[in-house]
């Protein structure tokens, strides 16, 4: 009896362990193929000029884009939250909108506007515009929560405003900056469509090329192995940079909003920066899509697959979101109610797995399914399983914060009133957690709606999601035909993005795992 109290119900543990062990399949497969391929062949596949070239491209992309996004994100967040920027509230929302535009749609918009885009700088431009909100959003949220009296202390110690920002504000923003940067880095590693459109080769585009040439060949798997290594380097690097720091707000002083600083002579430049960001990241793709939509006219919307693709996308996204939330629940519950080393390990596994490019996870599942569970091969179950692994942390993070806010006393009160523990849990606690569960599900939904790469690999025969159809149209250079699909994806994503924005004002961890 006491044992259960301490470690958690056995059934919950088993479910949590099951889900998180499923997450070991991709890593396991990569290691397995490396072993099977054998040292010499593997070496020949890995140590060749093409891999060096891809490594250069990929590393260059990450090294340039991530700091750039961090700087732009922090600057935008500061301007919106702390300066007398004109229209700060409106910009506060607009700067999150790029999250509703999948990177490959953004790329499509840009290529439509500037067809000659290609190479690393175009990659930096498009990826930067797509991903900077991943730093902006958490940094803005953190800026709002910082205790202004800490900055006043620094000022009272004779430190000038800009130095205060560098010495006091920036260090306190370290965690959101690092967290956002890590997510951007992982996105850069796993993005396919955006870079394929501008003919910029990264590991992921090369793996897809190999896959298209050889299906499940050793070269693709060798590249995937290298990609996984880069991924792990990023994860370890971030966790190292994060260190043991947790900048808890000390003291109990009531939060009051920080004073906004007058921009003075910098006002035009600041206004230009923020408006420029919005125009480039939202305006350009939307304008391109709009142009194609106008060109396609009403006929553009009579595409025979449009309704089907919309229905399939919503279906997958809903099922994926619900399944992910349900399966995330045991882990979240254990993490909140029965924290311990085992639970931490289980949680980390889900986190690491979701950090792997979806492509790698999909490759592993295709191969494992063909060999071991042919009945699952080419079924939606496999697709949903990969979605689950890709987006599990989004649900866990939200459920955790929801569960943590439930006062355990309430459940105990219900039990003292004669409710069976299970009933008490489901009638009291579950109802409290529902909003967080919905938020988590919404984020998973967003992820699935805009997922392209692994869906391409895994989709059962006859599957057409918006992303797949969009991509197929783009590949036939039917930009007009692709536009309605792009527009629908953005429309589906917008409400969720707004939800994300709204929750970032109340819940600090909401952006983790995007």
């Amino acid at each position: 009896m006491n044992r259960f109290r301490r470690r958690g119900p056995v059934a919950v543990i088993v479910m949590a362990a099951g889900v998180s062990l499923l997450g070991l399949v991709p890593l396991g497969y990569v290691v397995f193929t490396a072993v099977v391929t054998g040292g010499p062949t593997l070496a020949a596949l890995v140590f060749r000029p093409r891999v060096a070239e891809l490594l250069g491209n990929t590393a260059g992309l990450v090294v340039i884009t991530v700091p750039l996004c961090a700087m732009v994100g922090v600057a935008a967040a500061w301007l919106v939250e702390r300066s007398n920027l004109w229209g700060a509230r409106v910009f506060g929302v607009l700067l999150v909108v790029p999250l509703a535009i999948p990177a490959f749609v953004n790329s499509y918009g840009w290529v439509s506007a500037v067809p000659s885009l290609n190479g690393i700088w175009s990659g930096v431009l498009i990826a930067g515009l797509s991903y900077f909100p991943l730093v902006y959003l958490p940094v803005a949220a953190a800026l709002r929560r910082l205790d202004p009296s800490v900055e006043e202390s620094a000022a009272s110690l004779g430190v000038a405003p800009f130095a205060v920002f560098l010495r006091v504000v920036l260090p306190q923003l370290r965690l959101p900056i690092l967290g956002g940067s890590l997510i951007i880095g992982l996105h850069l590693l796993s993005e396919y469509g955006a870079f394929a459109m501008i003919r910029f080769d990264t590991f992921t585009t090369a793996i897809v090329d190999q896959f298209r040439s050889t299906f499940d060949g050793p070269a693709a798997n060798a590249l995937a192995g290298v990609l996984v290594l880069i991924c792990l380097v990023l994860l370890v690097g971030e966790s190292g940079a994060r260190g043991g720091a947790r900048y808890a707000r000390i003291g109990s002083g009531a939060a009051r909003p920080s004073a906004r600083r007058a921009l003075g002579a910098f006002a035009p430049a600041a206004q230009l920066l923020v408006s420029g960001l919005v125009i480039l990241s939202v305006g350009v793709p939307i304008a391109s899509i709009g142009r194609w939509l106008v060109q396609g006219g009403v006929a553009g919307w009579s595409d025979r697959y449009l309704a089907d693709a919309l229905a399939q996308t919503i279906g997958y996204a809903l099922v994926g979101a619900v399944v992910t939330c349900i399966l995330a629940f045991p882990i979240a519950l254990l993490a909140v109610r029965f924290p311990g080393r085992v639970v931490r390990v289980l949680e980390s596994i889900t986190y690491i797995t979701s950090s792997l490019p979806g492509l790698v996870t999909a490759l592993a599942f295709v191969a494992v399914a063909i060999r071991l569970v042919p009945t699952l091969y080419q079924t939606s179950v496999l697709v949903v399983a990969v979605y689950l692994l890709m987006f599990l942390p989004r649900a866990i993070v939200n459920l955790r914060s929801g569960l943590a806010q439930v006062p355990p006393g309430i459940e105990e009160a219900a039990r003292s009133l004669g409710r069976h523990p299970v009933v008490a849990f489901s009638t009291v606690t579950l109802r409290f957690v529902l909003p967080s569960a919905v938020a988590g599900a919404a984020l998973v939904f967003l992820g699935i709606v805009t997922e392209l790469t692994s869906t391409l690999l895994l989709a059962p025969n006859g599957t057409r999601t918006l992303a797949i159809q969009f991509w197929s149209r783009v590949n036939e250079i039917d930009y007009v035909g692709a536009a309605p699909y792009a527009a629908l994806m953005i429309l589906l994503s917008l409400p969720v993005t707004y939800l994300l924005f709204a929750r970032s004002r109340t819940d600090r961890k909401v952006v983790n795992g995007l």
Binding site: D147, S149, V150, E152, S153, A154, A155, S156, L157, G158, V159, A160, P161, V164, R167, V168, P171, Q172, R174, A245, R246, Y247, A248, R249, I250, G251, S252, G253, A259
Partner: protein, 362 residues
């Protein structure tokens, strides 16, 4: 480190309003160099705003502020905090959460004095009685009292002309509060730094400073030494804020004031109904001994509450509402006993006003 001479702090005709609501109105206050002034008031009285104007986190709409010879705020002048040479300690210390204690304390020190920094930090920690072993800790590993002392050490590091303390002890536990307060007071006195403390705590107001300024509804109600403020308050609200009171309805005529306790004041400018105010310790309760008259009136005990060191008697005094008077000592009293009640000093006389209810301050 900039060495600055301490100077008077002077506020003249300061006015400040937020969104049309006046928060401060015509504040005139001088804090003599090297002295300590406590600005006291209830929440919403404008005391924190006043301190923020002194700090330079905010600027007045009207009036001038002078620190030493420098006008730091006034018509056409708005020197921000970082150029005022002040020290500031806020309610919760506002330590930099990402820095160690040592780096917090050394934060304001100029960089080129790196070599001296370590010794300076050690001296400062010693000054605020903090163990040097804490220097490598992070703020969240310290207790509330330790955090406040680090905040003070940090503020003192630059030898500020003026130290501004914004309710720095209010978040501490009672026992820790007075100890920290005394320690900080001594450290500031030793350094001879002009100090302004803002508080809503009466004990702090009376023990910390050389001068107390009572702020109410954005105006200074009274300024004076702690003793004067306590024993000679100019209005009942101030009197109640700074201590327990016993108020008795009285009648003034021909300069003398008479109430149920007899004649309690010999000279007043008032005439007609008024209020006589005593501090509880100014009323003496004694046993009635046959034949002896100690000059007091006779009261009957109708209630008795044991409070540890003191007992609170509720006394039925003829011609007055019941009075609650604390007594100390060994004398045993029982409900129903008759006792004598005698003031030991003259009462402070206030006109009957809205605040003229006769029950003691809770």
């Amino acid at each position: 480190m900039r060495r600055t001479e301490p100077g008077d702090v002077e506020l003249r005709a300061i006015g400040k309003s937020y969104g049309g609501t006046p928060v401060l109105d015509s504040i005139d206050l001088t804090v003599p160099a090297g002295s300590k002034t406590v600005i006291v008031g209830s929440s919403g009285s404008g005391k924190t705003t006043l301190l923020r104007l002194l700090s330079g986190f905010d600027f007045p709409d009207a009036g001038t502020i002078r620190i030493g010879k420098d006008t730091v705020a006034g018509p056409g002048v708005a020197i921000p905090a970082h150029r005022r040479g002040i020290g500031h300690v806020s309610q919760d210390g506002a330590l930099f959460p990402h820095l160690t204690v040592r780096d917090n304390v050394a934060f304001g020190l100029d960089r080129h004095q790196r070599s001296e920094r370590m010794t300076t930090v050690s001296e400062l920690l010693e000054l605020v009685s903090l163990d040097a072993g804490l220097a490598d800790r992070r703020p969240d590993e310290l207790s509330g009292g330790q955090q406040q002392r680090v905040a003070l050490a940090r503020a003192m590091a630059r030898k500020p002309r003026v130290m501004l303390l914004d309710e720095p002890f209010s978040s501490l536990d009672t026992g820790l509060r007075s100890a920290t307060r005394d320690l900080v007071s001594e450290a500031l006195s030793a350094a001879g730094i002009t100090t302004v403390l803002v508080t809503h705590d009466r004990a702090e107001a009376l023990t910390f400073g050389d001068q107390v300024a009572m702020l109410r509804d954005g105006r200074l109600a009274q300024v004076g030494t702690p003793t004067a403020m306590y024993s000679m308050p100019t209005d009942l609200a101030t009197a109640r804020f700074l201590g327990d009171v016993i108020v008795i309805e009285a009648l003034a005529s021909g300069g003398r004031v008479e109430c149920a306790l007899g004649i309690v004041a010999q000279s007043t400018s008032l005439d007609g109904p008024c209020l006589a105010m005593f501090r509880p310790e100014q009323l003496r309760v004694g046993r009635l001994t046959a034949g002896a008259d100690d000059g007091g009136c006779i009261a009957r005990i109708i209630g008795l509450e044991y409070q540890g060191a003191t007992r609170l008697l509720t006394l039925d005094v003829p011609g007055s509402v019941p009075l609650e008077v604390p007594v100390t000592g060994d004398t045993r009293y029982l409900v129903g006993d008759r006792v004598s009640l005698r003031p030991t000093t003259e009462a402070v006389i206030f006109p009957t006003g809205r605040a003229g209810a006769s029950s003691p301050t809770p």
